[in-house]
């Protein structure tokens, strides 16, 4: 499952730490609970950077399983003609704003990915928190053979400020 390169993992690791600190300092309306944050805080203090990054990755993985896997599949391969793959596509590893646009607003345009079109509607995930969106986006950008810079909670917040009224 963890196919990301060392470089990507390091990025992920650093971002993971930033994310954790942000989640403690910023009041996030959808944070799961204070207890979770405190637990994470403790973990940061107590343990190495590696553990923190793994936690962020595992969070992303769990969120992917809950919200995305049913359509995009366990290996990100999608479903021919219906749900696009998340593997080797610029929609996932390319421009972050475009990816966030799809994750937050959904997509029902018959998206063409790598020469094939996909007919199913993708729901909007705007109900999830900035942190959750960042975790999911970072997870798919660094799984299934993908390697790309992670998406931070701040980037999600900025995107929402610009695009959601």
């Amino acid at each position: 499952m963890h196919q990301e390169s060392t470089v990507a993992r390091s990025f992920f690791l650093l971002t993971g730490i930033v994310l954790i600190f942000q989640s403690c300092n910023l009041s996030n309306e959808k944070n799961r609970s204070n207890t979770t944050n405190e637990a994470k805080d403790e973990q940061v203090k107590a343990d190495s950077k590696k553990v923190t990054a793994d936690t962020a990755y595992i969070e992303g993985q769990a969120l992917y399983a809950e919200h995305c896997m049913i359509c995009h599949q366990t290996d990100g391969s999608g479903v021919s003609g219906l749900n696009p793959p998340l593997i080797a596509t610029e929609y996932v590893v390319g421009d972050k704003d475009r990816l966030l646009g799809i994750v937050l607003n959904g997509s029902n345009v018959g998206l063409e990915v790598n020469g094939s079109t996909y007919s199913n509607a993708m729901p909007s995930f705007r109900a999830l928190s900035d942190m959750e969106i960042a975790h999911i986006s970072s997870y798919i950008r660094n799984s299934f053979g993908n390697t790309a810079t992670p998406v931070t909670e701040e980037e999600v917040m900025t995107y929402r400020d610009k695009n959601e009224k």
Binding site: Q73, S77, G110
Partner: protein, 435 residues
């Protein structure tokens, strides 16, 4: 001169050899009529019951959906997407071994539906049904300018394929799938409320009936023959009781949308994929209910106040057969041939495309099922007839499946043809045991 003589001698030797081989074949084959069918030694990887064999008729055809076979054995294939600008293939076997030798293409549109009657070939895009007059050999004519039989049918991408069948009495029955999973305001979105009544049902989510003797028909000329059907891909007219039968793809995502009511295992098994016998005016209940094959009940959809137990749809029809969830019954064929053993006569073959909506559980159903029938009613449980199209024990995602059964057709000799839109393969299943 010398060379020419040599050639003649060579030719004679060759001819003699051919004759010897041919005689040998005939003795071995023990079938006085026709040459030997090229039955694959391993049945091309497909598991079939004792006495059956599989011929790999063609491969690498793109994405073949439904198929139709002429009385002379010519094969029409509808492609999901055009290949080199052609959306219909006509395949012929010239030497009688069952393997395709020549191929030609026409029709500049992708789609799923294709069917034949004595006079015409019918084929559908996702909005229109075209027809092509047949010549005496069963070959389509006017391939560049077909008649438009039915047009302007709704296409909103989701469940857009216009599968159809004919009743032999001048009518054509067309599926117009619902462009939605469960008629929520926002499709497939957790927490989005359902629309009540569901407005999609006015122009989709059912079977529409049209005539085959009128051109350029659309909704005003057609009749909604049945409603409450989410998406039907398999349809066939049962000649033993003169009724329409259809296979419906049940709704998706019970766990994803209602995790507090359904765990991932329940969501993988439920709801049933269903085989319905349709009378004019029937309502199968979508989106308000779904069929639960374990409780054997029509259950109120959670979007409409259900909890996985409350029943509903008192006026909705029950399926004649229910299958496990999400296996995607993509083709239905009532077998009227004489080749297969008696138990198969007038029974239903169903091509299951195989699931995707079972993740994270294992995917299932890359196979052809059989339901025995007597006088238009199932006379026993369904069973797997042809299996292992996926080519692996465990399939986690549909892209890993080698083949995905999509279309069915009966050959003039009673063979069963199966198309696969994953590997682009066409299989022909024959019975070579003794009755």
């Amino acid at each position: 001169m010398k060379t020419s003589l040599l050639k003649k001698v060579n030719f004679l030797i060759l001819l003699a050899l051919v004759l010897v081989v041919a005689c040998g074949e005939e003795v071995k084959n023990d079938t006085p009529a026709g040459p030997k069918l090229a039955i694959a030694a391993d049945n091309a990887g497909i598991e079939v019951p004792e006495g059956f064999g599989v011929i790999k008729v063609a491969d690498s055809l793109g994405k073949p959906r439904h198929i139709a076979v002429t009385p002379t054995g010519g094969i029409y294939v509808k492609l999901r997407e055009t290949v080199d600008g052609k959306g219909i293939l006509y395949l012929t076997d010239n030497d009688g071994d069952g393997v395709v030798d020549t191929q030609k293409g026409f029709g500049d549109y992708g789609g799923t539906g294709i069917n034949l009657d004595d006079n015409y070939l019918y084929a559908s895009s996702d909005e229109t049904i075209f027809r092509y007059p047949l010549d005496a050999n069963g070959e389509a004519t006017n391939t560049e300018s077909p008649d438009t039989l039915v047009t302007k049918l709704i296409n909103r991408r989701s469940h857009a394929s216009k599968s159809f069948t004919l009743d032999g009495m001048g009518n054509i029955y067309v599926n117009i799938g619902a462009y939605s999973n469960a008629c929520q305001e926002e499709d497939r979105t957790k927490g989005s409320p359902a629309m009540n009544p569901c407005p999609i049902l006015d122009s989709a989510g059912g079977i529409w009936q049209f005539r085959i003797d009128k051109l350029k028909q659309s909704y005003p000329e057609g009749e909604r023959y049945a409603t409450g059907l989410r998406n039907v891909v398999g349809l066939d007219w049962n000649k033993s009781n003169n009724k329409l039968f259809v296979t419906q793809h049940g709704r998706d995502m019970l766990h994803t949308l209602f995790p507090e009511m359904f765990d991932t295992e329940e969501s993988a098994e439920l709801p049933a994929e269903t085989l319905y016998m349709i009378e004019k005016g029937d309502d199968a209940g979508w989106p308000y209910i779904y069929y639960d094959q374990i409780q054997e009940k029509k259950i109120l959809a959670p979007e409409y106040g259900g909890d996985g137990k409350k029943t509903g749809g008192e006026d909705a029809i029950d399926p004649v057969t229910a299958f496990p969830g999400h296996m995607a019954p993509n083709a239905l064929l009532f077998y009227t041939g004489d080749m297969f053993p008696e138990k198969y006569k007038n029974g239903a073959f169903i091509a299951f495309h195989g699931s995707w909506n079972r993740a994270p559980e294992e995917q299932e159903g890359y196979m052809v099922a059989f339901v025995p029938f007597k006088e238009g009613t199932p006379s026993g449980d369904w069973e797997i007839f042809a299996d292992n199209f996926a080519g692996a024990e465990v399939i986690r995602s549909p892209d890993a499946a080698k083949h995905r059964p999509t279309g069915l057709a009966q050959g003039p000799d009673g063979s069963l043809y199966v198309s696969d839109d994953s590997g682009g393969t066409l299989f022909r299943i024959v019975y070579n045991g003794t009755h």
